[in-house]
Amino acid sequence: MWLACGCIFLLVSVVVGISVGSLSIPFHSSMNVLWTAVWPKEMPADISPTHAAIILDIRLPRVLLAALVGASLALAGAAFQGLLKNPLADPYTLGVSSGSALGAVIVLFFGLSLPLLGSFTLPVISIFSGFLTLLGLLGFVRFIEKTLSTETIILAGIIVSSFLGSLISLVIALTGDELRQIISWLMGSVSMRGWDYIWLILPFFIVGAVLLFANRKELNALVFGEETAKTLGVDTDKRRIIILAGASLLTGAAVSVSGTIGFVGLVVPHLVRLLVGPNHQLLLPMSMFAGSGFLVLTDLAARTIIAPTELPIGVITAVIGAPVFGMLLFQQRRTKTR
């Protein structure tokens, strides 16, 4: 039932995202165009070729990219929160996004292109540096205290984030040219990316999502702590690495195509959890649907609020996300001291 709602929410968001913009296209036209694209047949006569072109070449890739990025971030967030037993965890607060971004910026800066990887160099490096950041963070926290407590992880995440952020700034300062481009990339955007980016993110998204879905029950067990999960028969060492890898894969893929878009991974799983409960069998798919729909709508807002100027999408998610983050922290503190 919930899953159906999620699907419908996503579809509606996509249709709305495609139809609304500087040039409004009636819903039925965009539906028709979509339908023809999926099910090849004659384009109905009442749809102008311009509309079709706008939809298929500009808006659809943009909306799909937003959907994929949103889904990736929300899934990664849900997985991090479950694994770390901590509703405040997400790729952004943990510094994984920053790690991925640093990797991406370095690739851009040096114009790197690894053999065999070709155009996949950027996402691969980005994913890898995100994963390394995460391992580094968890190693650091474990070094401070064995229990991996909520507060320490968040604090360490902030330290890591700002450290990596300053490294990124350093790289940008060295760049000189293209300053504006990199900065706007960093603030997060899904505009003018085209289909290439979708094909770039899609394989990573699929692998990452499959890894996480395959571990939905293990995530439920891990919420009760590693020790307990073990007694329930979960091979915790292996599963934890798989989950971290899956979540880093999703984060890195999302960052590599859209820059750092914060708080989606925090807010969406949290709200979804309020709706459907903490069971990851439902939480993961619902977070995916809600995250993609949410980012499609956010992107829509980013490009229409002060059209024709576009806001960076990361600004909007941060404007929504930061207060929610604050609220969560407040609530958690209060329940703890009670």
């Binding site: 479950g82 037993k85 901590n86 509703p87 909520t150 879905f213 395959a214 029950k217 293990e218 439920n220 067990a221 919420v223 009760f224 702590g225 020790e227 307990t228 073990k230 007694t231 329930l232 028969g233 979960v234 091979d235 915790t236 959890r273 409960g277 903490p278 069971n279």
Partner: protein, 494 residues
Amino acid sequence: MIQVKNVTAGYGMKPVVENISFDMEAGEILGVIGPNGSGKSTLLKCMYGALKPDDGEIIVDNKRLGAYTQKNIAKKIAVLPQQTDVAFSYTVRQVVELGRYPHQKGWFSFQQKQDEHIVDKALQETGVLSFSNHPMDSLSGGEKQRVLLARALAQEPDILLLDEPTNHLDISYQLNLLDTLKDWSKTKQLTVIAVLHDLNMAAMYSHRVLLLEDGRQKALDKPSVVMEKNRLEHVYQAHLERKEHPSVPSPLITLEPSSDTLERKRENVLDSLSIEKTPGHVCLMSPFHWKTFSSAVVGAGFGWHRYFVNRHVDKDYACDQPKQEYTAYLKKIGLDIDDTAAMMTAARLDDGAFVRMAGDNHDVFVYATAGTSNAVDVSKSYEYYSMNHTAGTINLWIFVAHRLSEAAYAQIMMTATEAKTKALMDYRIYDPKTKTLATGTSTDSVLVAALSEGEEIEYGGTITPVGKTIGKAVYDAVSRTLNHYLKRRSGNEI
């Protein structure tokens, strides 16, 4: 079922547990006890595969534990953890469903009908079915514990491990939990290994007990054998006392505060007793508690008392519930019932006799009241008397300024009784019905009170030093009160 062979394990260079070995049968309950840091939890971790032994092996169903996958271990062994807080609010049913995890195959397995059935059963058997859709964090500690137990049960294990399962639980929940486990060990042949903090719980519920000290196996046997006073005192570095449980055949361990926290007592404790006489009763008061053993109406058996009351009641005193009536009386005269041992007598309190006698190093104080109208020859009583409770006639209080063993209490009662009987004989008291010499009266009562500290007197028989003093003192006191009694009687007759 499960064999632990010379297991040594730890986290670093120094092993936390060393050379532990035991075998368990299906349906057995093993209690693991030992002070903090003795390696109880570490041993348990080895048993569910969370910690690899550095040396030795654990064999479950004829196969090394290390050869099992984590999932297959979970099919055989379930663990009930100490209370854990969970970040997210799962419902009770979701928590219990996790117990089916080891039985589900494949990456994309879904809940089967059979799983659902087993979960339902587990919910029912632990009594949490009625709130199976409630969120976990809305439950009380005891309820949460039961949910976790249901989860363990849903694993359908052969072996259940518990790590201090009764921590933070009210005693009713503790008993409830352990009763349930005991029941399952019988009906499901569930093997239970429980780390228990509470020695008495371990004694009552375990078939065998494993005592650990500094990671080494100190003892492994039936609770009554393992829980020996000196051994426990040594391992736990605490003063404790072992008694037998009043209602089940298991040892009962009681703790004692170190002696300097007890009140200091005066050199000559008997001097601190004060006597208050009113027409209705005689009350002996002490500034501290005496450990008493008596057949008094109020405060019978072993107890701690500082007020001792002998109340005069009419010869025809009849009351269905003398204890309740007496309690009300004591309340009226302002005494704390818990601190009071109280007797009744139809004899005149004026006839009572106080005797104080000094032994070598044990002063004795005896109080007696006597009347002989109900005198009985106990050797003939089966021929004549029907059961008939009335107020006591010869009441004896014996205060010994020393600490006594339980054996000494029993022997002093015998010594005192013999001395009393001898006095009755010397005064030629006859059983009015059998016309033979009486050995006592039908409603005699006796109280022995002694101190709680100092050196212990082990025996109180008739030729022990204390027995001699008591024999003499009781004989004198009973003689004197009989003397008063008989004099007054003969005077009245004239």
